[in-house]
Amino acid sequence: MNLPLPDPSTVSGLLETEAEAAVVDAPVAGSPGGTPPVDMRAERRQARRERMRLLLRRPGFIVGSALLLFWLVCAIGGDRITPFDPINDFELPNTRPGADHVMGTDQLGRDVLSRVMAGARDVLIAAPAAAVVSVAVGTFLGLLMGYYRGWIDEVLGRIIEALLSIPVVLVGLLIVSSLGASRIVVAGAVAVLFTPIVTRTVRAAVIAEAQLDYITSARLRGESGLFVMTREILPNVSGAIVVEFTVRIGYAVFTIATLTFLGAGIQPPSPDWGLQISDTYRLIQAGHWWPTLFPAMAIASLVIATNLVADSIETVSAA
């Protein structure tokens, strides 16, 4: 093949949309005005069902949401559903995984499985909270920068570059150590860390959107900047924002674990995963790998689960 051929997937995609357009268009032209009105709500419901069907067809989505669901149940259930009390139940320390303790016990004799299950709660509150805040602020800034450009973009752009150039962990540690360690501060620190990244993504999407003619048309009828940003542009970049949100949750889980591991986050005796790892990782040398491995796997599974879901949503909404 001596020439690059266009991507066949776009060709087929095109055909599908064209076919859809034709479905709607054909009856009108054929018999003007004589067609029964289509129930738009039913149609939209149909579209939503279709998207759901496409999602459920993706193994990644199924696996990801099953994992997410599991951790959600753990987080909501807390110590009501764990086999042992995750904080105050001291059994024989350093028991290997076995029949009584599926994941063994830690150096204080607490059941690792119970602690891993209960540990989901902190992170499942803090990570989405951090993602919500960073996406909200990032969207606002991204809209401003992408729509107005000019000096606003210059100034904010430089600040964002500066923030992004400082290592994530360092900024996190600085914030947490100066404001004290609590769940809220950790979530806040992660939100601050992620805002510039979200801003950059949203800004890029807004810039692409702002170059389209419907924005010119809005200006030609004298719309205010606020109206154009929130009513005209925002709905068209919401897809990118939703994807960014899900991706950010995954990273937030990871970053929160990192901060708590470094001792700057949620404090003992909370069963937080990062904290568990930092409490027990020195015991690996003594052959006690289980109190470290299982919370690490929990972090990994949650991050992977959110990424699988994010990826599926992105693919389906792009199609």
């Binding site: 020439l3 051929l5 709905p235």
Partner: protein, 676 residues
């Protein structure tokens, strides 16, 4: 243009033979038929054109010829023979060999067919390396290949990246690569769409010369019927996945024998037709959706001649001439297709001047360089008049329109007056009254309509902002608008992506008319549409104008369309007005040399202009305009010592007809009369 000494006429000797090809796309698991038994053949050295509306299956046919189909495309039955080998039953390996050695394709957008990060030399050499040449040989072959596509300085071009070349040069490079393997079959898919008329003429000339040098069979797909007519020996008219008429290109265009072909050709403003003389023909309805069962005649739902016979049985191939057939039951009744009626429409009769631009310039600043995109423009637009604006891309047409609209603030010194009062340079600083007076219809309705909004919301918001009414009054206005634009109420709750291109453009026009504008700027409003849809939109614009007496500033690269719609025309080059006059004055001459070249570049369905003037080179950068007359670098009437030194004055050669040229009228009159 019929080639002599063609290969004998048997299926295996044809360079390309498609036999009863049925092809379906699986959409959500359901196969939908796209091609319903397509049969045609192209001999070596012959050029075959496929025409039809978008969605009729012409591109699918072309891709199928290389068996390059999306993953959901299945060949249901039929054969595709290229040089005797059946493409439909090749293995992956054979297919790769076949595509590397026997067939090539040239795509619509040369910019995206070239890898932006590789130098031209390397990309072209790659095409030869695949054929087994070593690096040095491949480089030499690449230089030779570029020379073959008439690139004068191949060594220098090979050192460049694609973005450093103009669109015409890029397309030459792509063609050079396509010819590398000396293909038996060359597929050209809309090779000149998106290029300027002058560049298009250049590329078409090249393909025409190359045809005499190779014996490749050419399959050409173009929505521009003029291109097909000027390039092809034979042409197949496709409709809903079937070839409904096939024959010698000239014969088909001059004496079409199928109602669909007749309709398509009548959609075009031909033979210098004007809106005052006749409305354009439109084909009612739209193409059936892919996969619709069409057991009888495929065109029956939109055909004015359709009767019981047509609804009962599929028409056979009716021979209507030598190698010319039509798939129609009623070939003998074609004269019953009604001619479009001549409508009374008021054309811009010297009314009062509505908007006036006085000495308007616009300079952009980029990296500290001043780029004058518009220089000293004077123009006036009277009520109900259409002013056509023509020129190559980069000539400043859109900048002029945007300056009028207030999207680009003109430089200090210029004046834009609406009626008698001065308009602010920026739209945001204009009064609502002034804003509603000037509105715009954009080229691409996909970009012009907010995808997230329903049609109702788009229109109601505009009515609220521009007409200043809400509630019941707004609904009344909405109904008036949708009626005028022939939109059905059902469309109001749809979003743009659920509408076809023509409907989208109607919504965009409805929006422009929402506040009763005095002037509407139309920036190539039909260039993204099929001819049948274009005709409907042009008729609509013309009707709206006569009922609302709106003035249009109409930008278009299609001179046929401009001639049809415009009362007066302005020709621009490099941000400067070159010629201004009534439509008749512009088309009948005497012409400015630039106008002359533009007029002769356009391939027309009505045949070739008697003499061709080719513009060579590219439009110079506005940042660094040529001295004297800005056009002197490309002018075929260039006079050394005058044109490159002194800027020519604007001379009014007759009432309302102004030309910016040094040549005396007598000299300008000695021009071949060019038909469009």
């Amino acid at each position: 243009m019929t080639s002599v000494a063609l290969a004998p006429d048997t299926a295996t000797s044809h360079a390309l033979a498609v036999e009863d090809l049925h092809l379906a796309y699986r959409v959500r698991g359901v196969p939908r038929e796209v091609l319903r038994g397509v049969s045609f053949h192209v001999r070596s050295g012959e050029a075959y054109g496929l025409v039809g509306e978008s969605g009729c299956g012409k591109s699918t046919t072309a891709y199928a010829a290389l068996r390059y189909l999306p993953s959901n495309g299945d060949i249901v039955s039929g054969r595709i023979l290229v040089g005797g080998a059946d493409v439909t039953c090749m293995s992956e390996r054979e297919l790769r060999q076949f595509r590397a050695r026997s067939a090539s394709m040239v795509y619509q957008d040369p910019g995206s067919a070239l890898n932006p990060s590789l130098k031209i030399g390397r990309q072209v050499a790659e095409a030869f390396a695949i054929l087994g040449e070593d690096r040095r040989e491949a480089r030499q072959s690449a230089a030779a290949a570029l020379r073959r596509v008439r690139i004068a300085d191949p060594e220098r071009v090979m050192q460049r990246y694609p973005h450093q070349l103009s669109g015409g040069m890029q397309q030459r490079v792509v063609i050079a690569m396509a010819l590398a393997c000396n293909p038996k079959l060359l597929v050209l898919d809309e090779p000149t769409t998106g290029l300027d008329a002058t560049v298009e003429a250049e590329v078409l000339d090249l393909v025409r010369t190359l045809r005499n040098e190779t014996d490749a069979a050419i399959l050409l797909i173009a929505h521009n019927l003029g291109v097909i007519r000027s390039m092809c020996d034979r042409v197949g008219v496709m409709y809903a996945g079937r070839i409904v008429e096939e024959g010698d290109a000239l014969e088909v265009f001059e004496a079409p024998q199928h109602p669909y072909t007749v309709g398509l050709l009548q959609c075009l403003p031909r033979h210098g037709a004007r809106k005052s003389e006749r409305a354009l023909f439109t084909i009612p309805g739209t193409l059936p959706q892919i996969g619709t069962p069409l057991p009888t005649c495929v065109f029956v739902d939109r055909c004015v001649l359709a009767d019981e016979v047509c609804r009962a049985e599929a028409p056979p191939e009716v021979p209507v001439g030598d190698g010319h057939f039509s798939r129609c039951h009623h070939v003998d009744r074609l004269d019953q297709i009604p001619e479009p009626t001549a409508e009374e429409s008021t054309t811009g009769l010297a009314g009062k001047i509505v908007i006036k631009m006085h000495d308007v310039s616009k300079t952009f600043h980029q990296h500290g360089h001043a780029i004058p995109a518009l220089v000293g423009i004077h123009l006036g637009l009277t009520g109900g008049e259409t002013l056509g604006l023509v020129g190559e891309s980069g000539s400043g047409k859109t900048t002029l329109a945007k300056a009028m609209l207030g999207i680009h603030e003109p430089d200090a010194g210029g004046e834009i007056k609406l009626d008698e009062h001065l308009l602010a340079g920026k739209a945001a600083n204009r009064a609502t009254e002034d804003m509603r007076a000037i509105q715009m219809v954009f080229q691409n309705p996909d970009s012009a309509l907010n995808r997230a909004w329903t049609v109702r919301r788009i229109l109601l918001r505009t009515i609220k902002k521009l007409a200043g009414v809400t509630g019941e009054a707004a609904d009344t206005r909405l109904n008036t608008l949708t009626d005028a634009l022939r939109l059905s109420p059902r469309h109001l709750d749809m979003r743009p992506r659920q509408l076809s291109g023509g409907l989208k453009q109607r919504v965009a026009i409805a929006r422009a008319f929402a506040g009763d504008p005095r002037i509407v700027v139309c920036d190539e409003p039909t260039s993204a549409l099929d001819v049948s849809v274009q005709a409907a939109i042009l008729n609509l614009l013309s009707d709206l104008q006569s009922s609302e007496s709106t003035s249009y500033l109409f930008i278009s690269h299609d001179l046929g369309v401009v001639r049809y719609l415009a009362d007066r025309i302005i020709v621009m080059y490099l941000g400067r007005l070159q010629e201004e006059g009534t439509t008749d004055q512009i088309f009948n001459g005497p012409h400015h040399p630039y106008t002359e070249a533009l007029l002769s570049a356009v391939p027309s369905v009505d045949g070739e202009p008697s003499e061709r003037i080719r513009l060579t080179g590219e439009i110079p950068s506005p940042a660094n305009p040529p001295s004297g007359c800005v056009f002197h670098t490309r002018c075929h009437r260039f006079m050394e010592g005058t044109c490159d030194v002194i800027e020519p004055p604007v001379v009014e050669i007759e009432l309302g007809h102004r030309i910016r040229c040094h040549l005396p009228i007598e000299e300008l009159e000695r021009t071949p009369i060019v038909a469009v």
